[in-house]
């Protein structure tokens, strides 16, 4: 078994450092996009529209003559910050709800656990669409919709962890020493249930980026002319016949981001599992 798993993911520097390196470049693009490209992502140049990659425009230009490289780099800010914000919101609410369920009396725990079940019977995208139908499109609403759809993933794990931790020796001892419920929850239970979160959140961030690009592709996310990867793909599909580059580069950006996050998350998981 162990041999097979190791063979499936040949170890080596490439496997960890390459994805981490890509993620650092992406972080740079989110923080200071100006460092990676000098062009303005919103500057239209109709005379130079749909120019193929090369020369002045490495990734070509789009149907309005905007530099595709500049739009991909600046798009990182939209796409990745939506993903990060949704993940942070989902993790925070998931941890709180999972902890609450795990520490509540049985009836309340049952009610919370069943509501996580119901949330996860709906496909993430449909649930997000239901929420956007109520709130209307826009960046904040997309973040909220994705976060709600992902809460059960975190809440379920935290609930299960809480069950284990609350029966552990150190919690029992803290109870014996007469420490208050709040102090035990904050000081002993919470830190010890968070173990699986880094791995889950890294992989979840990737899935949030995909979900946000999907919603933007459907026109629910940041509105034009904002350079968001999913929205860029949505515009690009009208020009597929003549300009593949307008679709391919933002597509590669999404795929690369998610693949790197997934690989890093899985490596992290292996590291943690190997240690315990």
């Amino acid at each position: 078994m162990a041999v097979h798993e190791a063979a499936a993911y040949p170890s080596g520097i490439l496997r960890l450092f390459l994805p981490v390196g890509v993620l650092l470049v992406l972080a740079l693009a989110v923080a200071v996009p100006g460092l990676l490209t000098a062009a303005d992502p919103l500057a239209a140049d109709p005379l130079n529209a749909l120019a193929p990659p090369g020369g002045g425009h490495w990734f070509g230009t789009d149907h309005l003559g905007r530099d595709v490289l500049a739009r991909v780099v600046h798009g990182a800010r939209h796409s990745i910050s939506i993903g990060v914000a949704a993940t942070v919101l989902a993790v925070t609410s998931g941890v709180l709800l999972g902890l609450a369920a795990g520490l509540s009396p049985k009836w309340l725990d049952e009610a919370l656990a069943r509501s996580f079940d119901v949330l996860s019977t709906l496909p993430e995208l449909l649930l997000a669409l239901l929420i956007v139908a109520i709130t209307g499109p826009g960046t904040g609403n997309v973040i909220f919709a994705i976060a709600v759809a992902q809460i059960p993933n975190y809440a379920r794990v935290i609930r299960a962890q809480t069950f284990v931790v609350r029966r552990s020796g150190y919690v029992e001892q803290a109870v014996t020493f007469g420490r208050s419920r709040t102090a035990i929850t904050a000081g002993h239970v919470l830190p010890n249930v968070l173990g699986p979160i880094p791995v889950l959140a890294t992989i979840g961030l990737g899935q949030a980026v995909i979900a946000s690009s999907g919603l933007s592709f459907l026109g629910m996310g940041p509105q034009p002319p904002a350079a968001e990867w999913g929205a860029m793909l949505s515009e690009a599909r009208n020009y597929l016949r003549v300009a593949w580059w307008e679709a391919v580069f933002p597509g590669i950006a999404i795929t690369l981001t998610v693949a790197c996050l997934t690989v890093v998350g899985r490596r992290l998981q292996r590291r943690i599992e190997g240690r315990t």
Binding site: L122, P123, L126, L129, I134, F217, G251, I254, V258
Partner: protein
């Protein structure tokens, strides 16, 4: 505590009657599973209703959406949803209507929601079934070809899996369109006429499924091939291929069945994007138009329908699971 004596009694009785117990266990398990399914559906309906109530703004405004807004229509909405009555009565009458298959009315399209869904369910069913078939068949091929076949093909299969969880579903569609419709001209660009128009959408929706499912099936196959029964079968002179096909695949199916929930979700969610991208009619298009036009009765009905599909499929597969794996029948 009360359950324990009853269980003991049950056990004692089955010792006497012998074959009686598994049967009672089966009926009980099926009953419990169905009960749980109904409970989830009730909760989903309630959640959709709560979403409507919690939405900011006046409920009548939300139900009108972007549709025509006249005093007559407003009066009709108030009557239909019982908005002039106490909230409990509103909620109960909503559930009552759902139980009778009345999904309400779209004020934007001026038609019954049930009627809209019924006319659009066909193309979506075609698309999702074709995609599921493509995905499962490809996954089977990937698993059988790569299982126990050394490092290189295993690496390729796990790379394929990584790509399939990382590519946004619509990008595969865009690439397929770009290559096979625009460049080669083999398939129509949009629409739903004839089987040729189904090929690319089914592939776009089915390929990501094949990647993930293939990886899981392959893992299951490799574990199965290390089991004692595999050694016995090899000793009997079975070729590796027929060992895989006739014996090991059945074992590999067990972990794959647990993915059915994920698969259903991926298909239903993916259908929305695939239909929009390929300009196919169907429930996804209906859902999209309803979301853009803020046509809440339709959005709620689509969400409920997908919950019904999900619950039905996962219940059926749970029961199928018992058929595949005799160990959990008892």
């Amino acid at each position: 505590m009360t359950a324990r004596p009853a269980a003991l009694l049950e056990e004692a009785r089955s010792d006497v009657t012998g074959a009686g117990r598994p049967k009672a266990g089966l009926v009980g398990a099926v009953g419990r599973r169905l009960g749980a399914g109904v409970a989830v559906l009730w909760a989903a309906a309630t959640a959709a209703y709560l979403a409507l109530l919690l939405a900011p703004g006046d409920t009548v405004d939300i139900l009108v959406g972007d549709g025509p807004d006249t005093p007559e229509i407003r009066a009709r909405i108030v009557a239909e949803w019982g908005l002039d009555r106490p909230e409990v009565v509103q909620y109960l009458s909503y559930l009552w209507r759902l139980l009778h298959g009345d999904l309400g009315r779209s004020y934007q399209l001026q038609r019954g929601v049930g009627e809209i869904l019924a006319t659009q369910a066909g193309p979506t069913a075609q698309l999702t079934l074709a995609a599921a078939g493509t995905g499962v068949a490809l996954a089977g091929i990937i698993a059988v070809v790569t299982a126990g076949r050394g490092r290189w093909s295993r690496g390729a299969a796990s790379a394929a899996e990584l790509v399939s969880v990382s590519v946004p579903p619509f990008l595969i569609g865009i690439l397929l369109l770009s290559v096979f419709s625009f460049t080669l001209g083999w398939f129509p660009v949009s629409g739903a006429e004839g089987p040729r128009a189904l090929v690319l959408p089914a592939l776009a929706l089915g390929l990501p499924i094949a990647g993930v499912l293939g990886q899981v099936l392959r893992g299951g196959l490799e574990r199965a091939l290390e089991q004692p029964f595999a050694v016995t079968a090899r000793a009997r002179g079975l070729t590796e291929r027929s060992l895989v096909v006739r014996h090991a695949l059945r074992h590999a199916l067990i972990p794959a069945v647990t993915l059915a929930g994920w698969l259903t979700g991926a298909l239903l969610g993916g259908a929305v994007i695939t239909e929009v991208l390929f300009g196919r009619p169907g429930l996804g298009q209906v859902a999209m138009q309803a979301v853009t036009g803020r046509d809440m009765p339709v959005v709620m009905a689509v969400v409920l329908l997908s919950a019904v599909v999900y619950v039905t499929i996962s219940t059926l597969l749970d029961l199928a699971y018992r058929a595949i794996d005799p160990r959990i029948r008892g």
